[in-house]
């Protein structure tokens, strides 16, 4: 590689890194505890859920829905989801069918007696705070998209870093760590080694993180593009009110019957991002390790109860659906989470050492000798 090429790539690496480093540090630091959020929640909530009326018949979904609306007068249902390991139904309500996340209300109901199940303890909301900071820095869609842009800058920094790894390593063997040399040299060696061995992981977690920042955009596009034929049938109908809606229980049972190899995941009510203005979108997922991440809705007319059929999802929402586990690292037990944490810590070291090397080169750290041209 010519000296000019090295200088150009070095400039790209420096600037793309400087743009994103502080945000990436925030993401890596907040991401570390988030990896274990299920374990934290289980540790903070040792008591096991006891159904209120274990012998009795389960309430149907219409009864649960009625309970939730009595509990939140004047609100409309947005989502309903189902716990896997206990008879608990979760209902999200809001002031309007298209209410933003901050205005939504999430409540858990015991399906055996309709009582409210207390929310799990979250140590003063620490985990919620970290997740919100990690997702959009409390800035909504613009915060999300901003972090997505930081992720793109990070990916460019990674690619340019790999290009610069070649001239740096021409004189060294793989894994060189000159531990008897200056702090700057040791930082440089660690930066290069840790950077190159974590390459696949940071590209996957960074790339899927960028895709995840586009979730609102992707589902919004899907809704407008893939469900437009269903909307066209009803040019002038308003979003039905809860009183006008057909039986949810019958709709869900019809959806399950329409997709025998799939399992119920959640219901999106009319007027939100995940459905049309006139349908229940009853989302089901597959029952194999890969397809359990892939959801597809059965659309049911929310007034007449007529089943419009199962809609397969397009490639872009499937890509989004698979980006979530690949970002969270929650698909292969605790060992994978521990590896996720280890790789996250290595990535933090790469970020900090990179920042250090830049500061030394700029002369901001006078005590460190400038002896070599950093890669």
């Amino acid at each position: 590689m010519s000296q000019t090429a090295i200088r150009i790539w070095s400039g790209v690496h420096t600037w793309t890194s400087l743009v994103c480093t502080l945000f990436l540090l925030m993401l890596c630091v907040t991401g570390l505890p988030i990896i274990f959020h299920d374990e934290f929640e289980a540790a903070l909530n040792p008591s096991v859920f006891e159904p209120g009326n274990p012998q009795g018949p389960m309430l149907d979904l219409d009864q649960i829905l009625e309970r939730s609306l009595d509990n939140r007068p004047g609100e409309v249902p947005l989502f309903m989801s189902f716990d896997i390991d206990r008879p608990v139904v979760n209902v999200t309500t809001g002031p309007t069918p298209d209410a933003p996340g901050g205005a939504m209300w999430f409540e858990r109901f015991d399906q055996t007696d309709g009582s409210i199940v207390p929310a799990p303890v979250d140590a003063g909301g620490v985990m919620d705070f970290l997740v919100q900071l990690h997702t959009d820095m409390f800035l909504g869609l613009s915060g999300k998209l901003f972090l997505g842009a930081m992720g793109v800058s990070f990916l460019l920094a990674i690619v340019s870093g790999v290009v610069l790894y070649a001239p740096f390593m021409r004189k060294h063997r793989f894994g060189v760590l000159r531990l008897d040399r200056s702090l700057r040299t040791r930082m440089l060696d660690y930066h290069n080694l840790l950077g190159v061995v974590t390459l696949a992981w940071v590209m996957v977690v960074g790339g899927t993180g960028v895709i995840n920042t586009l979730d609102d955009v992707i589902y919004g596009y899907w809704r407008d593009a893939a469900l437009s034929d269903l909307i066209a049938e009803y040019p002038d109908r308003p979003v039905p009110t809860p009183q006008e809606m057909a039986s949810l229980d019958l709709a869900v049972n019809a959806a399950i019957a329409a997709a025998p190899d799939m399992r119920l995941q959640f219901v999106a009510f009319p007027g939100g991002t995940f459905s049309t203005d006139f349908h229940y979108a009853i989302f089901l997922h597959g029952d194999t390790p890969v397809t359990e991440h892939l959801i597809a809705p059965v659309l049911v007319d929310a007034v007449t109860g007529e089943v419009a059929g199962l809609r397969q999802m397009p490639w872009y929402t499937k890509a989004l659906a698979l980006s979530q586990p690949l970002h969270f690292g929650d698909y292969a037990g605790l060992p994978l989470k521990l590896l996720w944490a280890a790789l996250d810590i290595l990535a933090i070291i790469v970020l900090v050492s990179g920042l250090y090397l830049w500061a030394v080169r700029k002369g901001y750290l006078k005590f460190a000798q400038r002896t070599e041209v950093p890669a």
Binding site: Y165, A166, M169, R170, F174, G175, V176, L177, L193, L194, V196, V197, T198, L199, A200, W201, V204, P289, V290, H293, L322, P325, L326, Y331, A332, G333, P335, L336, L339, A342, L343, L346
Partner: protein, 55 residues
């Protein structure tokens, strides 16, 4: 051995092992998860080897 192979041989192998591990663990449960753990532990093992090998 070409320069490129010498510089990128080990990194490419670790890249393939980690990426393979990431994907295989997603494709199945049980033994697939274990293959995933093994593949994805290669970066940390490489760092430990580089740090603690005899010079």
């Amino acid at each position: 051995m070409s320069d490129l192979m010498r510089v990128f041989g080990w990194p490419a192998l670790i890249f393939a092992l980690s990426l393979g591990g990431l994907v295989l663990a997603l494709l199945g449960d049980g033994v697939w998860d274990a293959i995933g753990w093994a593949g994805l532990s290669s970066p940390a093992l490489a760092v430990l080897w580089a740090r603690f090998r005899r010079a």
